[in-house]
Point group: C2
Chain length 585, copies 2
């Protein structure tokens, strides 16, 4: 029981020396990769670079205790950084103490929300984000993020809350481009693009083993960082207008008290909720993918607790919202991490870097960090999905395109909300028009099939309707209309059989509709019968007056209902036959 | 085609003298009943009484042209009047020109929204209100309305936006009760309560025919109006502090231009949307009930257009939001109305009353109108439903009680929103955990049933899972978890068959989950097979790469899939048998 809430108790027991070695190796590799990434994502969030490092220490330790994935690596990620910039930017200007306070408060709120949802076992809420909405959101975010970083490559000042604004702002300032910044930014971007695909084969050609080559290629950003720092120092580029990272405070993260300002919380709770849900969905997808590769399982509800604890820890140590990232988790996995302890060791690595390495980063150009972001996020932009969705499902296509369009034009928050709303409306629309079929008996069998698709036997005074969905309030009105319209078209009708083989549930609204149908059919002298009602559904119907008021019968099988009711041809049965016929049924 | 949008073209063609006579008789009866009701509901909405009459003229004519119900009577109704008071009260004080402007703007916005939803054929949105939410809302509204009218019976000033506030305000002022007002209010209330149940039998005992007695009893409020006017005049009660209706402007409704003030529209659009949806649901329920009694049909989408036109007309003639009311429609139906022309004739009757009868109402006590409201709405309070819902469905009970509680404590708007939200969350929760069963073959048949409920045949290396729902984004994640967990528990497994007989649809998220399951099972050397895939679902799957990538087969029947895969016992087949066995399958 306790190990359900503290997964560390389970994997901790089997911990041994060989696992320790593997975890340590993975931690070293992930640490090297994380340093430039953390600085870059803090920049994207509009925060001082060191905040990215702070968000990569304590959260990893807390996730290691509460998380259920063996290989997930938490920390700052691109989309959440963009959402943080958008939410914090709405309450304060970048660079102010209020802006940092807002970012820390977002982490706190998001952490509390995730933990509460976890204790409520409400992971199902993440289902509201369909795959087309998520992929649309990620594509649009990738475009927004890449565009927002162009100003750092060009060395100009530009802004904008949405895509058209960003492009306009870039266009107005492009004449002020700093050629030295461009001379750093463009080669860095090209190098990073190349190293993603071409790095590993080149290293293999140089004689490295395939696995070592792959790991070394992942450290491409570190090479870009080192080379551009050297270039800055060699050519004194700081004096020529190239923006540098500058002095980073040395030392462990400070203990921070998140804001308890209610007016700030009131402004930030909606973005914090969206950050929580997007972060959770991204993290769970990554964790599930990796777990399945090793035939492990994760628990989505406990993941909420793990991510909640990580975000609360981030807030208390001066960080900003974090979640499980795809790139870093994949590196951790490939590097051979076996338990969440690898994450804790990575935290130690980052902490050491924060203590001792930050002076080396003084001359790092902002353009290099922007280049790492651009290369990372452009791989998220997926241009094949819209076409695939169009061919497969117009409704999913609509939700996908609505999410992309609204995210680009109105920002990340409205984009997510619009995607969820469009998906939900389309779902409810379809749910309110469920599938039902008029069925008849397949000759010489006891099977009943759709009259429109099969050659089947029917009789004019009996109508058999197979309902292919549970009866809920969303489709209750539809059921009434469908049955009554079908009846209105058939003047000879004397019996209606509702075949309930696919009805898993009848809620109170569905029951009221059945009562209304029963009542109206009764008024018209038509019997209403049910067949093949499932056990649990029947148990609940027995607790109501419906079965007493039903002006027909409940039959165990459709075949039996059809056989018995077909015989009732409306003529009075010959008296001498009466009891005999009854007896036979 | 045209008559779909203008139903008047259809029933107008068959119009003749006998129908005319019936419609005229019904119109006279409804007119007499509507006069006090219209005044009372305007009072409830916090508007001058004459506005209730204005809202009962032009809207009826427009509904007669565009509506599809033969017997629905539109006009002011209790719940919508309460919602109007709540929405208009939030932007202006009662009695001011701004308050009236807000009410007129609500009618306009609501009319436009209804008409637009009608043209979009979006009547399905009304499904979001489940029966338990609607009945909870109506019960709570009835309690709120009755409480809000007590001050008029007592002759005191009181206010309050929600139930506790109302009760507190009444308690503080109760010492100022005006005894003369009470002497009018209490007998009027008792008389109206008695006349509802006891009026008809008493009149029959006096020698009236049953139908005439029923109609006369419905005019009980008119008798209460006449008697209390006489009492006011006889005892000069106006001088003794009894509040009277006073001077009502004589004449036809003025032509009013609804406000185009954008800041007002911004404040009112949410309440207007709620008024539209609640009004539509109430109206459609009434119209469907009455239509079914005569085996007629209504079109919910066209009803949106009819109600939209009625509300726009109300706005342009100085009225406030209207909808189809239960009480007046039942009277219209019972009085023998045959076509919507009866509504148009009623409009003429109310117009004549507005022109000539209003001076007679000068001495009408407000307490009488309050009594008619109290008696009308208390019949809406339904105290049996909570118990029934508790026994039948805990989820429906929760939505019902949440709606009642939040409506009483936080007002009508939040009450409706909370009811819809709770209903939707519970629905989505259940939709995200659909029903599936592990099935086996019933001995000596080709049927496959749940292993937990039936004695069935299974083999350890084949797992058959019957999915009882369509695969959508809401349950896609669940499906992955369910299948992979079931597989993880069975180390001997070599084949998984997903039996899709109840899968009516697979959306893009469901497809991605199937792809993920296929991929993960493939990694583990397990074949994934589908059986009994429906035609339309298969057609869409063929447009993707899924079937090529599937590491198993698609079988027409579950029986065939099970037979073929059970034979694969993992041992290499004897070479001499190989082709033979294939040939047999």
């Amino acid at each position: 029981m306790l190990s359900r809430y503290l997964p560390i108790l389970e994997w901790g027991r089997a911990y041994n020396r060989s696992v320790l070695t593997n975890d340590l190796v993975a931690a070293v590799i992930v640490t090297i990769m994380l340093i430039p990434q953390s600085l870059a994502y803090a920049l994207l969030a509009g925060l001082p670079p060191v905040v990215g490092l702070y968000a990569s220490i304590l959260p990893l330790v807390l996730y290691a205790i509460f998380g259920t994935s063996r290989t997930l690596a938490v920390g700052p990620v691109a989309v959440i950084s963009l959402m943080t910039a958008s939410a914090a930017g709405a309450v304060a200007a970048q660079g102010t103490a209020q802006y940092l306070e807002a970012a820390i408060t977002l982490a706190m709120l998001s952490g509390v929300m995730l933990a509460v949802l976890g204790f409520l076992r409400a992971g199902f809420l993440a289902n509201l984000l369909s795959h087309p909405v998520i992929s649309g959101f990620i594509t649009a975010s990738g475009i927004l993020i890449a565009t927002s970083q162009l100003k750092h490559i060009l060395g100009i000042a530009a802004g904008g809350e949405n895509w058209p604004e960003m492009l306009g702002s870039l266009a107005r300032s492009i004449a002020e481009t700093n050629p030295w910044t461009l001379a750093i930014g463009i080669p860095a971007t090209l190098f990073l693009f190349w190293v993603r695909k071409g790095g590993k084969p080149a290293l293999v050609a140089l004689g490295l083993g395939p696995r070592a080559a792959e790991m070394t290629a992942k450290a491409g950003p570190v090479a870009a960082v080192a080379l551009t720092i050297l270039a800055v120092i060699a050519f004194d580029l700081g004096e020529r207008g190239v923006n540098l990272v500058g002095a980073i405070p040395q030392g462990l993260p400070p203990f921070a008290l998140p804001s308890t300002d209610l007016s700030l919380i009131e402004k930030l709770w909606v973005p914090a909720l969206l950050i929580s849900i997007i972060g959770f969905v991204e993290s769970v997808s990554v964790a599930q993918t990796l777990a399945a590769k090793r035939r492990q399982r994760i628990s989505p509800d406990q993941e909420l607790v793990g991510l909640g604890a990580a975000n609360i820890a981030s807030a208390f140590s001066g960080g900003y919202p974090v979640t499980g990232g795809f790139a870093r988790s994949a590196v951790n996995f490939d590097a051979g991490a076996e338990t969440p302890a690898a994450g804790a060791f990575t935290a130690v690595g980052i902490a050491l870097a924060t203590l001792f390495l930050t002076p080396l980063l003084y001359s790092l150009p902002i353009a290099t960090l922007a280049a790492t972001i651009i290369v990372a996020v452009l791989s998220l932009v997926d241009l094949k999905t819209p076409g695939q969705l169009w061919r497969y499902s117009k409704a999913d296509f609509a939700a996908h395109v609505a999410t992309i369009t609204i995210t680009l034009l109105a920002g990340v928050e409205l984009g997510v909300i619009a995607g969820v709303a469009v998906g939900l409306l389309l779902y409810l629309y379809r749910a309110s028009r469920p599938h039902a079929a008029i069925v008849g008996r397949v000759p010489e069998t006891e099977h009943f099939r759709n009259v429109e698709r099969h050659k089947v036997l029917t009789v004019p005074h009996v109508l058999s309707i197979r309902i292919d969905e549970s009866l809920t309030y969303l489709n209750a009105r539809w059921l009434e209309e469908y049955v009554l319209e079908s009846v209105a078209e058939r003047p000879q009708l004397r019996h209606v059989i509702l075949m309930c083989s696919a009805v898993n549930e009848i809620d109170a609204s569905g029951l009221e509709s059945l009562e209304a149908i029963n009542h109206r059919l009764g008024d018209g002298g038509i019997g209403m019968h049910l067949s093949e009602v499932k056990g649990p559904v029947m148990d609940r119907l027995k607790r109501t007056h419906f079965l007493e008021e039903l002006n027909g019968k409940v039959f165990l099988s459709q075949e039996r209902a059809f056989r018995e009711l077909s015989r009732d041809n409306g003529e009075p049965e010959p008296p001498h036959d009466h009891y005999h016929a009854r007896g036979m049924i």
